[in-house]
């Protein structure tokens, strides 16, 4: 099987509580188990049909690369907002 070149980036924005079981089954098949979870699937007719079945609940983008969970977690990490300029006991710069 050739490596897929394009991926769907699917994010669940709305919950399927109260919707028919078939809809939540589609979300489970896609791997979207909670709100705001993001999954990557190759662009195929099967996946496109699944997305179409839950199109009101998800946000979809077409991207070139699929991110792994570790990469997505690293993207979520906020900037620390500081850096250590001088350690205790170090000599002052220029003096």
């Amino acid at each position: 099987m050739s490596t897929p070149t394009r991926f769907f980036r699917i994010t669940l924005l709305r919950s399927a509580i109260g919707l028919p079981t078939r809809t939540s089954g589609v979300l489970k098949a896609l791997g979207l188990h909670r709100r705001l979870k993001t999954v990557y699937h190759p662009v195929t007719q099967d996946v496109a049909g699944q997305v179409f079945a839950v199109k009101e609940l998800v946000d979809v983008q077409e991207v070139d690369r699929a991110l792994s969970d570790k990469e997505m977690k690293q993207l979520r990490q906020p900037d620390s907002g500081f850096y250590v300029e001088r350690r205790a006991g170090e000599r002052v710069m220029g003096s």
Partner: protein, 325 residues
């Protein structure tokens, strides 16, 4: 099955990094802006988002409600780092006034959480900062607001959005009739915005884009804090049990918190010499990066916090100040 390609793409990353002495380790996730095409999308770990926003100076009146109108946004120069970026008119004229009116306060962000600080404040952070010892001097370089009694310098906020821009309309030349009236809805290429002039981040994460704040240019201010020590809360015991269950499990908690003391909060940039002298008289000796007398290097800096901003008419641009010698 993609792990080998991912690893190779990450290892042979060819995107230039900003100077490391200015950035913490997490800045490897950011990238300097450059002109990109759809094929030149950087690895997703590297930010490719760009923003434009006016850093406008507002005058606050306690009695009157009139505000100076926000100045025009500076133009975006994505790839050209050699030309001096332009400050908005109000910032250029009012920055010396702001600098002369001490003392100053700053809203510094540590891990994206805001803290309103001024020189001499003692801050008890809600977490224990690792790998630092009492006496270490920290340089806080993420700030959203910097102000004095009557003037405030802030970066314009990027508009958050929940949905990615999935559709864009483009005029299609109808081959049969030759008219431009028919429209087609096409998905935009990732990394290329529909407007053509701005650059989209390769991956849009809706829920992360929602709460992001835009920051000031870090070359406009200096904020230093020293670690005073670590404080711990009183011991608290949580009892865990269920109904009609005699066994009670006890869980102890005694969290530790880092204490900082803010040493100085001052402005840099195109402030007048008199204002600078006044500031330096009050501040401690500058232990930071020595600034050359008349030369500032210019670059357009992009921060991770803007990676997920909504691509649209407004991006927050962190611009460097060009000081003419």
């Amino acid at each position: 099955m993609l792990s080998r390609n991912v690893k190779r793409a990450l290892l042979e990353s060819r995107w230039p990094l900003p100077p490391t002495f200015l950035l913490p380790w997490a800045a490897t996730l950011t990238t300097v802006s450059h002109a990109t095409e759809a094929s030149n999308i950087p690895p997703p770990l590297v930010n490719a988002g760009q923003h434009v926003s006016p850093e406008r100076l507002e005058r606050r009146h306690d009695q009157t409600s009139s505000n100076t109108p926000p100045a025009a946004a500076p133009t975006l120069q994505p790839a050209n780092t050699s030309t001096p970026p332009a400050l908005s008119e109000s910032v250029r004229t009012l920055l010396p006034v702001l600098a002369a009116q001490g003392p100053h306060y700053i809203t510094a962000h540590l891990y994206d959480r805001p803290y309103l600080l001024t020189a001499g404040d003692t801050v008890r952070l809600p977490f224990h900062m690792k790998n630092v010892e009492p006496g270490d001097v920290l340089r806080l370089n993420r700030a959203s607001v910097l102000g004095s009694r009557e003037y405030t310098l802030k970066a314009a906020a990027a508009t958050p959005a929940l949905k990615s821009p999935s559709m864009s309309s483009s005029l299609v030349l109808d081959e049969t009739t030759g008219s431009l009236e028919s429209h087609s809805m096409v998905m935009p290429e990732p990394g290329v915005s529909s407007s053509g002039s701005k650059i989209m981040p390769p991956h849009f994460v809706p829920h992360i884009a929602a709460g992001k704040v835009s920051y000031l240019d870090e070359r406009l201010f200096v904020c230093r804090a020293v670690i005073m020590g670590v404080e711990s809360e009183p011991l608290r015991v949580k009892e865990k049990t269920k109904r009609r269950q005699r066994k009670i499990k006890k869980v102890k908690s005694k969290h530790r918190y880092t204490i900082l003391r803010v040493k100085e909060v001052r402005l840099r940039g195109p402030v007048s010499a008199a204002a600078r002298e006044m500031q330096s008289g009050l501040a401690h000796k500058d232990y930071g990066i020595p600034s050359p007398p008349g030369h500032w290097s210019c670059a357009v800096r992009v921060s991770l916090s803007h990676i997920f901003a909504m691509p649209g008419p407004s991006y927050a641009l962190k611009i460097f100040v060009m000081r003419t010698s």
